[in-house]
Symmetry: C2
Subunit: 254 residues, 2 copies
Amino acid sequence: MTTRVYLLDMGTLMLDMSFVTWNHGQGIEYRFPVFAVYVDTGDKKVLLDTGFEKDWVERNLPFEKPEQSEEQTIVAQLASIGVRPEEIDIVVNSHLHFDHCSGNRYFPGAQFIMSKTELRHSYVPDPWERLGYDKNLVDIPGAQFTLLPPLHGYEYEVVPGVSLIETPGHSEGHYSFVVRPTGEAPMIFPVDVAYNAHNLGSKVLMGLHSDPRELLESMVKIENLAQKIGGRIFFSHDPESYKGYKKAPEFYGE
Amino acid sequence: MTTRVYLLDMGTLMLDMSFVTWNHGQGIEYRFPVFAVYVDTGDKKVLLDTGFEKDWVERNLPFEKPEQSEEQTIVAQLASIGVRPEEIDIVVNSHLHFDHCSGNRYFPGAQFIMSKTELRHSYVPDPWERLGYDKNLVDIPGAQFTLLPPLHGYEYEVVPGVSLIETPGHSEGHYSFVVRPTGEAPMIFPVDVAYNAHNLGSKVLMGLHSDPRELLESMVKIENLAQKIGGRIFFSHDPESYKGYKKAPEFYGE
């Protein structure tokens, strides 16, 4: 069996640069990509995050000026590689901000894996994080949920070849992913530990965070992990780096 | 202005004794009182907890065999001292187990003060605490909520003469109350830090807890506080001690 990894392009959003570089860049527009990750291990079909929905953003956060074509929805992206929503076995959410979980509702038959802490924040957000969460995006009636308790540094294997690590700071129950495509270097998805290479390389925090000190620690953890396992880091919201990534239907692996 | 304190009798519930004395007393029935506390400071009308509702218990936890007459509902108890629900200014919940918040819905115009951590557990309980919580009991549409963050030992004044302290262990966001009736010793309500005098005196934990070590620390805190301020402890679910308490329409204070 081989593990293949697909980046599912979900379009773009816009934020003021001060959201990207804390307290700096006010008035500069930063348009950035959003993507989900689909992993087929041969045995299991796993989705890491489910992106945003244009309607939801236009209704709730119109200043983020979403751009998403009909080919850039989660269902259309999966269709482009011949996968139907009901085939997805497992959905893991890195965290529950809208641009990482809005497609959850298309997978009511999947097993959802997420942080219990994160789900609690989705239901009862702190004042500064209200805009990012919407419990209606994750409250999928009848779905099967695996709510993970604190892992205290333990790397949790989702399925062989796909694991998650706790990287709090952007949000309190935030996860990053490590995926091992067959025949290639491990892929590290810090998700929102660092929107872009500048955040990580210069330890420039993003403007929105649950704990700046924890976020810095998570950055160091991600950088060191890449060194330790020889992994390649794929940034979540980096227009420059994104140009160099393969997107579905292209894939990583054999 | 004088502060008067009324204990509002809400009837009784039943549990196996092993819920009261951890791992001991299986097969012995323990029927215990439930009460809410009403404080009139002259300036503000404050309710500390709102008890259980017989219907809810019969539907959800019939093994607790609730007994509650029509005179023992929260609204009837307040009526017995001439207070209408809409006169209540503030409702504070010690925690969000059903026997401490089921009457919240009668006070949609009040300001609700509760622990944010506790509310998160009500929405997303841990497996062993599912039976105690029901988010529908606390999700009062349109009501005004003050969700307190962790207080790290700080005694939070609700209004002059009424304060709360963090006493986790029974539940993660649990509070105890200190009330100062005019002309009398301070009244300490540990709430579910100790159901009864035996729990506290012998440091016998109850069977249901979020963290046994935290619960023990909270017991020590309550005992020492009583010594420090010369307070009298009123136990939450102690049939023996309860006999000696004044109940509404009697009151503490002048």
